[in-house]
Amino acid sequence: MSKFRKENKKGAPGVNTSSLPDIVFMLLFFFMVATTTKESDPTVEVTRPEGVSATDLTPYKQRSEIDFLYIGEPRNSKRAADFKLGHALFLDNVAQPQPGELYSTNSIASWKQDKWNSKPPNMNEPISNVITCIKADKGVPTILIFDIREALQEIDALKIAYAVEDKSAY
């Protein structure tokens, strides 16, 4: 039987991995270019409604002329009862006392004002030009949108944006 045994046992040749970094860098650059940073993970459930011909907010975002607020049902369904019509607000980049803190509509004015006061010095837009982007869930009762509008009107933050998922073909 020794006839069939191989004489010198060579292992499989090692795979040349020297181009692996190149491949990974390529992937990395692709993702850096194709994506935008997330502002935060909201703790309310938001499925945006669909729409067409919406404005792309990326240029405003780059100039940090935009604040996001989310409105939807809390992920923690026990908390839903604490809020008007069961829908709570999640405000982005707020110094949160507890993780997952949710708000009702009367906290908007102070949030917006605080954010505007702490803007970088090179951002010199007046508060009336800083967009407040409302990311609302499909099922949010519209009265809550009007509550938000009213709160913003009080502090002269007059530019708002209704977020939708753009379905128009590019």
Binding site: T17, S18, L20, P21, V24, F25, L27, L28, F31, M32, A34, T35, T36, T37, K38, P49, E50, G51, V52, S53, A54, T55, D56, L57, T58, P59, K61, L85, I131, C133, A136, D137, K138, G139, V140, P141, T142, I143, I145, F146, R149, E150, L152, Q153, E154, D156, A157, L158, K159, I160, A161, Y162, A163, V164, E165, D166
Partner: protein, 263 residues
């Protein structure tokens, strides 16, 4: 001197570093773009000036009730996709009338477009006169320190200056503009779902973009959406799109009134 070999740098961990960065970007970013409809909240006035009487023909009212049913100008609409066509009809019905036709039809109750807004023609001289008139009023208000009047006339002056700029950009002698009071009114109820509210805005925007595209092709030989996109890319605005876009927005303004649901 003898040639010395430069020791090779071990690049074996380069892949690990790149992976680490890659994963960091994967986690902190999103693919989806933020797209939205930009709208303006009216300024709060301390002592509101009573609204002027608005003719019914200048109101395009979209109502949505708590059961998410739609009504446009008093008629029930089953398919929300029809809104944009109705908006276009609202803008286009009397748009191509000549000045003399407009004068004749506006008094003729059997004319089919009697319930739609009429267009008026404003010349450069008139625009300039209006700017001066409003500036005088503004001075008067400032002298009397009436804040609400100051904001009002300030707005009026800016409004007419926009028209002046639009006339220059469009290189025309008279601006054919829709009745200044013509507007779209969105009336919802408390429990109307946001889905439908967004749909209404989507349809309005679709119609406005179409109208502006048409006008842009006519005056500048390029579409409005294309100019918008280019302006977003190019902050310095080398091609002068900013002015053109503003002119088109004077021609077809987004006059939308969103009425707060009562009760």
């Amino acid at each position: 001197m003898a040639k010395r070999d430069i020791p090779e740098i071990n690049a074996g961990s380069m892949a690990d570093i790149a992976f680490l960065l890659l994963i960091f970007f994967l986690v902190t970013t999103t693919m989806e773009k933020d797209t939205a409809y930009i709208r303006y909240i009216p300024q709060k006035l301390d002592s509101p000036i009573p609204p002027p009487e608005i003719e019914q023909r200048n109101i395009f009212e979209i109502r949505a009730n708590a059961a998410n049913r739609l009504m446009i100008r008093g008629k029930i609409i089953e398919n929300p996709d029809d809104i944009s066509e109705r908006v276009l009809e609202f803008y286009r019905m009397n748009r191509n009338l000549t000045a003399s036709q407009t004068a004749a039809y506006i008094k003729n109750p059997s004319y089919k477009g009697i319930d739609f807004p009429f267009y008026s023609r404003v010349t450069m001289d008139e625009v300039k006169r209006k700017i001066n008139e409003n500036l005088d009023e503004l001075d008067k208000a400032e002298a009397e320190e009436k804040d609400d009047f100051i904001t009002f006339y300030d707005k009026m002056v800016k409004n007419w200056q926009k028209k002046e700029q639009a006339l220059k950009t469009l290189k025309v002698n008279e601006l054919i503009e829709i009745h200044p009071q013509a507007h779209i009114r969105v009336v919802v109820q408390q429990k109307t779902e946001y889905r439908l509210f967004a749909k209404i805005h989507s349809e309005i925007q679709e119609a406005l973009v179409e109208l502006r595209n048409e006008a842009a092709e006519k005056y500048f030989g390029e579409s409005y959406s294309k100019m918008r996109k280019r302006l977003d890319q190019d902050k310095e605005d080398k091609k002068g799109d900013g002015k053109k876009i503003k002119a088109l927005e004077v021609l077809y303004p987004e006059s939308i009134i969103e009425v707060k649901p009562k009760g």
